[in-house]
Symmetry: C2
Subunit: 423 residues, 2 copies
Amino acid sequence: MPEFKSVRGMRDLLVEETKQLNFIIEKARETAKSYAYGEVTTPIVESNELLCAKTSDEIRNRMFTFKDLGDRTVSLRPEFTASIARLVSNVLKKSPRPIRVLSVGSVYRYDEPQRGRYREFWQSNFELIGSNKPEADAELILLTNNFLNKIGLKNHFFKVGHMGILKGVLNQEGIIEKTQTKILQLMDKKEYAKAFDLIDDNSRSVLESLVKITGKNVFDTIEKIKNQLDGYEKAKNAADNLKNILELVAESDSQLKSIDPVFSRGLEYYTGLIFEVQIPEFDISLGGGGRYDQLIELFGGLSTPAVGVAHGIDRLNIALQIQGIHADDQNIKKVFVIPVTTDLRIRALEISEKLRNSGIFVEFEVMGRKVGKALQYANKINMDYVVLVGESELKTGSVALRDLAKHEQITIKIENLAKKIRE
Amino acid sequence: MPEFKSVRGMRDLLVEETKQLNFIIEKARETAKSYAYGEVTTPIVESNELLCAKTSDEIRNRMFTFKDLGDRTVSLRPEFTASIARLVSNVLKKSPRPIRVLSVGSVYRYDEPQRGRYREFWQSNFELIGSNKPEADAELILLTNNFLNKIGLKNHFFKVGHMGILKGVLNQEGIIEKTQTKILQLMDKKEYAKAFDLIDDNSRSVLESLVKITGKNVFDTIEKIKNQLDGYEKAKNAADNLKNILELVAESDSQLKSIDPVFSRGLEYYTGLIFEVQIPEFDISLGGGGRYDQLIELFGGLSTPAVGVAHGIDRLNIALQIQGIHADDQNIKKVFVIPVTTDLRIRALEISEKLRNSGIFVEFEVMGRKVGKALQYANKINMDYVVLVGESELKTGSVALRDLAKHEQITIKIENLAKKIRE
């Protein structure tokens, strides 16, 4: 029989990695609780039609798509927003607005595997649906900041932009949507020359001037952007909207390091604010989001403004590793229980169950090893204590308790055992 | 645009359902901690070859199988054990024995949807690998019992059997494995007549007598089983092994209500103990497992004894609902923050962030509603408090705090707000 391997691009997370993954997910849930987001669970398998309705070709072409046994064309979700839009336009149609939801789980994209890029990866995804106000946009940035603080990340900063700036210019210049998408993608990749080839001189000069803008802080940058947008009313309004959002964030948060007027993001559905978060030591986005006011409508719902953010949990994990930060290990005492002879197994198991019910981590000797070998093993796997259940001690309702760090052994009444270990 | 629906057999779990799901998963993790199981995460997408290597046709024919973009035939995992066997025979090959692992997540089977049966469902899966001793078998029953106690389930009981009893008889009668599998499946469905048609009179009389056995308790039943197995040495040894396991469990646990000598389970890989757990009010297994001593070897590893159990989290959820048990709602105070005028949004957001950092659940008014409308909404969504951030109170560093249950409103210094709310 051949040795089986995991499928290319799919990973096994062993104990320590799973602990980190769960730690980050738990912090996302804590964040959701403090910002009033309710967690929902949508399926990993969705109709291909839903997932393709409004995404970029880039993602569409990298989905895991197949026919189920009922001949339905389905895909593994490459992100959460389409599923949430489906929920909001169906079962949550009549819920009072705003709707705040968290989704956590794995998503699937057929990417070339590399560090921070996997075919199965985890996201926490927050969406705030029903408000078109800047305080809604600000909330998504604030909660992202709060979440990253909770997991212990340091020096993270936000890159911020607004789809309405470039789109406002391109719309006014009469450039069709398909070309706009291409231009935005090229500019996001900083392939400006190629992008400018697609437009005439007039638009070109505006975009060129936007690309060159730098400012000493975000508000200075926004003023400079606005100065370049004379005559482009909608683009200017977009810049004002961005300013309003950032004013709401700036007081509570000082990590708005960069604003990029020509920044856009992979997904086609953004209509307003867009943002990403990073750390200086790792040149890859740890999370990002923005406003998508037309998406719910596209999924058959009423016209509904919405803003959302997705955090890359695997990437956050890498970021924590880079910064040398580990999930707090709960200081739970680890005990190894050994029956001295085979016929004492029942008594030893009873004692183990009692300890477990007192919240103690108990590994029971199930290999039938003699005491010496079992002790060696307990040392090897870094147990704190060994409980030896032997006949002579049991006669007085006691067991032997060995402290492996201190190399001390005492005889102790069974009823005092849990208390002593937890001390 | 049509209204999008979820794919048939796939469910959306809304906020309350997700809370229950997470509650049960958290208890599985607590159980893992007290029994020294480390959690690992394996991919949902595995090679079809791995998943088909040792499962029943019943499961094989109901897998979601497809080709990925790299032309690999892959499937969505229908259970966890194949992935764990892969881990143990590869990356964990050299880990000290025993290996104790927990897996939690969704699995996929193309079943006809009905109550307690979904195409995407959740399991917690515990495996203890490397020990052939009865205390290992006993541990899986004990931890299942402990887990169900932790989630608050009442009156659950175990149905217990041993593959070695029937297999011992059938092997000795020279019946080939393929026919054995068929016989076991038929007997499990209580289609005894059809099963007996496949064997000669000699085996038939033994099996008939086993089917009829009832006892006043498990040990009485085992004695009666042994009395029918004269001359079938291996089958008798299996009954003795079952007796040893149950002796280890019986002292700690009184919920071993039934033992069934002809009980078998859907998966073909079991070799020894098999068990399922149920409640009286719901005629469907909530979890089950057993010993599978030849499986790791089949996956290319060394011959390794192993025992495991999978719990159906969705079914446990239904069982809790039937018994009227709900996840403890953490008694977290819910606060709704309203800026009285638009220009006070920044100050109101700052106050919200402070409250959140004190562990309070804060929903911020993002709809731009006037105070009256916003208060109505806060009442509707069952907030505990409303914080009104208004200009006159801010002048003295204060805000208005309204207790929605008591219909009382006080003016309070911002620095005392969190303490007051948490009282």
